[in-house]
Symmetry: C2
Subunit: 300 residues, 2 copies
């Protein structure tokens, strides 16, 4: 089945101990789409400025990503983020953010896109996320991401969104902020009280945890000897997770668990190079080989 993602498309300038990139293709919807494209056709909804090279769109289209929902705002500039990672590279220091055309992003889905069964609302304003969700009339599974900014400034709107989605994906610091709970299992339970039937708490280099009323899954990160750039790891995780589910059309416990493993493995490729570079050098066969290695590392 096909998969819709709504979120940012960006130019990222990133500095890590392994190097720098300037104005590289990034953004949550970009990383998500590419990660999911190993599994299923993807429909991308986003906005860019007229500074966005046609080659980027062509590259995404060549991956089976339908970019008809990526609108170009004439006279506008694409969202830009500049950040830096140091030490264990677990958290980014944001140096500059220019929202540009993303500041007024509030998309309408085409009739075709509105029928997509699997929907991912990447990080964005909860009101925008809700408005998109309301248009996705045929959805079978809707999952949202969010971030500290929305938790702090638009709590009521976020709570309304949480009553409407099936799942929430967020990182450990965000889960703690959202629930005022240090213990992540309890934080996860409190998220479930807010509405979603499952929550995935991403812990960066420490893996991820899935909680529903009846299931708990824990997955370590795939161990890597070199993390070059963590930018987009969480969105790549979500892309692998949702991509696998959409490809199988399933949302049962076994599928969700395998989806967690695929999300972990796909994210492990993403962080091995800047921007989409490592993704562009891999394929589903290599992903599946690493999935088997990962399985072996944990099974006893």
């Amino acid at each position: 089945m096909s998969l819709l993602v709504v979120g940012s498309v960006a130019f990222d300038s990133v500095e890590t101990p392994h190097g720098v990139v300037k104005d590289a293709l990034g953004g949550a919807a970009t990383f998500f789409s590419y990660a999911a494209s190993y599994f299923t056709p993807v429909r991308l909804v986003g906005v860019v400025g007229d500074d966005f090279p046609a080659a980027h769109r062509e590259m995404l289209e060549a991956r089976g990503i339908d970019t008809s929902g990526l609108s170009i705002e004439q006279g506008g500039k694409t969202f830009r983020w500049r950040g830096k990672y140091e030490g264990d590279m677990n958290t980014a220091e944001t140096l500059e953010v220019h929202l540009n055309v993303l500041g007024t992003f509030n998309p309408d889905l085409s009739p075709k896109f509105a029928e997509t069964p699997f929907v991912f609302l990447a990080n964005g304003s909860p009101n925008m996320q809700r408005r998109v969700l309301a248009q996705a009339k045929e959805r079978k599974l809707a999952v949202a991401d969010t971030m500290n900014f929305w938790i702090e400034t638009q709590r009521d709107e976020l709570n309304a969104l949480l009553r409407e989605v099936d799942g929430l994906v967020l990182n450990d610091a965000e889960a703690r902020m959202l629930t005022d709970e240090i213990n992540l299992v309890r934080a996860g339970w409190k998220v479930l009280d807010l509405g979603p039937r499952f929550v995935v708490i991403k812990k960066g280099e420490h893996g991820a945890m899935f909680l529903s009323r009846t299931e708990s899954f824990v997955m370590p990160a795939f161990p890597l000897a070199e993390v070059v750039d963590p930018t987009g790891a969480g969105d790549s995780f979500a892309g692998g997770f949702m991509g696998y589910l959409a490809a199988t059309g399933k949302t049962d416990a076994a599928a969700l668990k395998t989806a967690m493993a695929y999300g972990t493995v796909v994210a492990s490729f993403n962080v091995e190079d800047f921007s989409l570079r490592r993704f562009q050098r891999t394929d589903r066969a290599e992903i599946d080989r690493r999935l088997e290695t990962y399985r072996t590392m944990m099974s006893f």
Copy 2:
């Protein structure tokens, strides 16, 4: 097969967000022994003062722990540690340390103990660890723990020890300090260069990683909704790990991986209450049930 542990027996005074205990039975060799006692007979070597209650020794003996190597120094006082955990409880703040009789601890093994096939050298001075190791003539597997203090102050002695043991168990911060390497996979590889054929890096609430020249295993921690007191978690992990290996008599990759899982699960019981309290309320059957739950949480 039987299992020898050499290390501290202590009185711990601990404060966590969940309560306080004063002069509770603790120490690396104590947690290790109790954890291992679910799997195999244990031989404990340590020293206490004449303030050590006979009831503690009887309790350990009742668990199948041979305490004939636990010497009482007349007129001396047992090692005391006072510490505090806050927030996510991942690191202890040490408030007081009184080495007391542990300051001159340098044991001789009885002829019977010297024949033990599985040997664990809990944290202690590398010279003492080496001297004990030299006495364990019949050893099949020798594993050591260490800590930041020895890494900083007795590096040559520690390096000598590392050339003589089969395995090293240490936490993530210690692995980074020992190798000057932030990435834990690379840190693990550098530990292997120092001598051991395997290294286990414990990451507290984030699980543990095993590395040898040919194998990598990663295990998340067992997710808990309430961590009451992390004191002894690492030693309990090591006890479950070594206890399982000694019980099976095996040291191949499959056994080492299952041992990692048992170590993780046994440690998860330890942190659910202060001192040995949770251990005293569990048994091998409950440990095996949690191991199956843990397996289910990760297998896909």
